[in-house]
Symmetry: C2
């Protein structure tokens, strides 16, 4: 067996980011993930740039290590084939709007009857029930409605979204955790189930400040720039060139910091002696720290701080990250997929395992690449049947 | 059985956020999660506000549904007891810096020898190898060094962090997915393994723009406010009162939008006809849209857009989110834990399952609350032994 999830068969009806990312995580861990796309059209992201020799980097990234078949779910014959596949599948994931699979005729109830052990995972904007259930759920809408935008940005400035699609990403990885956990349960009890994840709920889980500071402290958190509410100094700071971040999470670290700065007076100053008072006087403290940092460049500042045991780091741009020997070298985070035409670089599986590592990355499937192979093997169709279905635009 | 992970025993040496969030997700899904804390001290977050009747809301949130024991891992006897517990555990998770567990004398190799089926999960700032391995890894440092800060913020403005601890959260949920997947593998093969997750790698996985736009498109992404690089109009917009977000992900939606606006001229304008040209002219388009929106308030604008089939939503503040009937009511995202003293409100398990729902939330353990019960049951100690260990500060 190769991969922690080797032997697990997943039907991946996921599209664009959330569903496709879920399937990607499972495929990276060795599951047999069969991406199911509409004939001729395929996943929308096949049409998203940037393109490399005519192939979408976007699509390739999220669909590496998967097999691909086409199936027209708007036709009865297409749905019947999906039902055949479900007989032999462990997990099905999809990110259509609630009710779409029922409209096709392959809703959870029908599939559960066909295979009671099937784990059926759905990721949507707002989940399968409630007043917003039918609303379209794009990432920006989840970031806006969950409150994430309202707490991101410069202090007193315009609130902004987080710079990547955390709604989609958190939704996708949450669905992956849900379906694998439900697969554990199905293995022990024979009972499959419906796993219902939404982008917005997933962001609410990430926004623990809601539960911690608002529900129990009454505060309405607002953007605080790079500063955190818990501790000080825990923020970004100017140096002679670039900004850096410093994270003094407790009193001991702060005392060490005053030693590194050669400023025992700050340690002894009642304004800064305890975390609670430091938080109240964070602006004064920032001024002191930035005065000290103004005499050195970011690289040197981080070195000095780390040598003194103070958590610190540079604010890296994406091109710096990709060249960083730690991420690119030691952690192998930007591996290469060899395709027929050229090499794609992707972001690796970030869940590293010593017994079942992700050893190589296979190219994403061309549209319908494995239709013939997999419909023969898993749905009992012969090549002539498949050819006929193709002519009717069913596969 | 109750909960998808019922019957799975987890030793949770996680502290603060990343490790504790991982354990929380597993406990919410029914695993028996035993939080292991240092005698007298406990998890740092027991000392984090806000407090409700002397109990930390922070600690309670991340440690609900867990059992709690104390164990001094700096003593040989404490480590020997941990080894006894490991004999009967399925999963161990920890977020000490690399090398700490080895220094205690309970590193992966020793525990793996004791229980070859054990899944051992570690979440750290930078992972278990590489030049940054020994650096302290707080959330802000992960956001800075992964590049997340460099792409978050107002266009041409100061880059800022995302408004919640996505490094910790993505690290914690990634470890949860990793250990459950490795548990599946251990169940089939009898082989446990080391699962190695870092906050920074987890953010790199979330930052798919690295792989998509930089590695394959050569672009160095920068903050773009609420605008996304993929489509236009996909951004926030002013109305007569609050800002709203609109997400036109494709040409069809844009044509619908021009109908809702009563502006067929925009549809026919070559500047806006295709997504690629709309992206280039997003500022011009924003001006047109905001002129139209200036005549209505945010609530009405969202209603009109949704009725016209256009994805749109309000930018909600945290107090609005908590009162939102969809999240608070239908999705039950802010349930109550009853403690001896009062009611805490928390953010719920966001992974909803129909067969094994999370039906209630138990209070987080008091420091060492289950030491007597669990060390008797799982480590074969009698009450007198445990009393003696307590006097030596070992439990």
């Amino acid at each position: 067996m190769s991969g922690a999830l080797a032997g697990v068969t997943v039907l991946d009806l996921g599209r664009v980011v959330a569903g496709a990312y879920c399937g990607m995580l499972l495929a990276d861990m060795g599951a047999t993930v069969i991406k199911v796309e509409a004939p001729h059209l395929g996943d929308d992201t096949r049409g998203f740039g940037p393109y490399v020799d005519g192939e979408s980097a976007f699509y390739t990234h999220f669909n590496r290590n998967k097999k691909g078949i086409t199936l027209n779910l708007k036709s009865k014959e297409g749905c019947d084939i999906l039902c055949k596949l479900v007989e032999n599948a462990d997990i099905l994931i999809e990110n259509f709007r609630p009710g779409t699979m029922e409209r096709f005729g392959v809703g959870y109830n029908r599939l559960h009857e066909i295979n009671p052990k099937l784990v059926y995972g759905s990721v949507t904007g707002f989940g399968s029930n409630g007043p917003y259930r039918d609303r379209p759920g794009y990432d920006i809408i989840a970031q806006a409605m969950s409150g994430l935008i309202s707490v991101t940005g410069v202090e007193d400035g315009t609130p902004v979204r987080a710079g990547t699609s955390f709604g989609d990403i958190m939704g996708g990885i949450s669905l992956a955790l849900g379906v694998v956990s439900a697969y554990v349960y199905a293995g022990k009890t024979g009972k499959g189930q419906f796993v219902d994840v939404s982008l917005t709920d997933s962001l609410l889980s990430a926004l623990m400040i809601v539960s911690v500071y608002h529900l129990n402290g009454g505060v309405v958190p607002k953007p605080t720039g790079n500063r955190y509410l818990i501790s000080a100094p825990y923020d970004s700071f100017h140096t002679a060139d670039d900004d850096i971040v410093v994270a003094c999470g407790n009193n001991k670290l702060f005392r060490q910091l005053t030693e590194v700065m050669g400023r025992p007076d700050l340690r002894d100053n009642p304004l800064f002696a305890q975390n609670e008072t430091r938080k109240d006087n964070h602006l004064l403290l920032k001024r002191e720290l930035e005065e000290w940092l103004s005499g050195m460049c970011a690289e040197r500042a981080v070195d000095i701080l780390l040598q003194g045991g103070i958590p610190a780091g540079r604010i890296q741009s994406i091109d710096q990250v990709v060249l960083d020997a730690h991420f690119s070298g030691a952690r192998e985070m930007f591996p290469v997929i060899k395709t027929k035409k050229r090499k794609f670089r992707i972001t690796a599986n970030h869940i590293k395992m010593n017994e079942t590592p992700t050893e190589e990355y296979q190219n994403a499937p061309a549209l319908g690449e494995h239709t013939l192979e997999l419909l023969s093997k898993l749905a009992g169709l012969n090549p002539e049947d498949i050819q006929a279905l193709k002519q009717k635009d069913i596969v």
